[in-house]
Symmetry: C2
């Protein structure tokens, strides 16, 4: 009975990791679609969002089922409830990757991102992928050292976010209001995606240590 329980918990963790992998792919491909103005890649990311949602529904149903049958207490119960929350964070990250791809599609055959912002958006995409990789390792190995590292990586994302806003506000911004709106939202999508990864890392940190990772101001 207990073995079966642990197997099911493991399989839920596998689903969380699967979601994390799909979110990483979506962010990575969505960023590429955006920066190379690639409509078919954007369409692919948009189509794949359903897959993430389906895994989440399935994961949540299995979690509820496991709870009802096994009546877990203490740390097992916490692990399950934390799993529900992590799946909600991952689902939202998938939705944000979807927004990135939708922006690429909306501006096609034009390119959404003006040339001078490409390096910064590229770096936001890379930082998001790095953070998601670490987050996956935090989920898989309950690695609290990496959980804390993600806080610092998120600071880097905030710096990139501010850099975008400064560029929009500079006197030589020449791309008008529509592109400024696009870039404002785009920068926010990456930043929020990182925020959700931070949430997941903090949840695992709490699960392992029983303490809250000191939240940033």
């Amino acid at each position: 009975m207990r073995d079966q329980y642990n197997e099911e918990l493991d399989s839920m963790r596998t689903s969380l990791l699967l979601m994390a992998g799909l979110v990483k792919d979506s962010i990575s491909k969505g960023t590429l679609a955006l920066l190379t103005c690639d409509l078919s890649l954007a369409e692919q990311v948009i189509a794949e969002d359903n897959v993430i949602d389906t895994i989440q529904h399935d994961l949540d149903a299995r979690g509820l089922n496991l709870m009802a049958r096994q009546q877990p207490v203490a740390s097992d119960l916490r692990t399950l409830v934390t799993g529900f929350r992590m799946s909600a964070d991952l689902e939202r990250m998938g939705a944000l990757a979807n927004h990135i791809a939708k922006l690429a599609r909306m501006r096609f055959p034009g390119c959404a991102v003006p040339a001078e912002l490409i390096p910064t958006i590229e770096e936001m995409g890379r930082t998001a992928v790095l953070i998601i990789d670490k987050m996956a390792s935090v989920i898989e190995h309950r690695d609290i050292v990496r959980a804390l590292e993600i806080e610092t990586d998120d600071d880097q994302m905030d710096i990139l976010h501010r850099k975008i806003i400064s560029t929009l506000l500079a006197d030589d911004w020449a791309h008008g209001i529509e592109t400024a709106i696009d870039m404002t939202l785009l920068a926010r999508y990456y930043e929020r995606c990182a925020d959700h990864a931070v949430s997941i890392a903090r949840r695992v940190y709490f699960l392992v240590t029983g303490e809250y990772a000191s939240p940033k101001a």
Copy 2:
């Protein structure tokens, strides 16, 4: 034992309603602070966000405790897990109200919202309050008719959102990039807040009917 269990479930619902009331106040006061450029009111909203977070932590701890002691199954288990999710939505709505108040504070002694957008932002605030009121009634009475109404109210919020973006993109927009960035984010805060209320309404709908309210495209 069972009576005590029901009492505790009731008291968790009371906490959700308390959170909903505080979120409504924050949105309402945050909007007023923004539109009347009232720094002290903005500060008050910002200070109160902690209260919402504290209630959420307490509610989640009680929920976990109740689960561990009472080992609920079937619909009781679903109600509890749904409660966790609703508290997360409410916490996020509080954070969005906080963002609105922070924008008012950041632009003080200036006013964040240009005169011609005041009526639309005012209506977004009113629509948010209306939606939160209905959402509270959905939580309190499991009122699925109102749960479906919220979908329509959210369409109204989307219309207001698009109205803001159209104003920013019109040829006669005279307030520059910074205000356009502020208004882009502000409109998104109200829209996301309504989205979370929609999520809560859908969760209750599912709890009551066992079916998903047809999601919008």
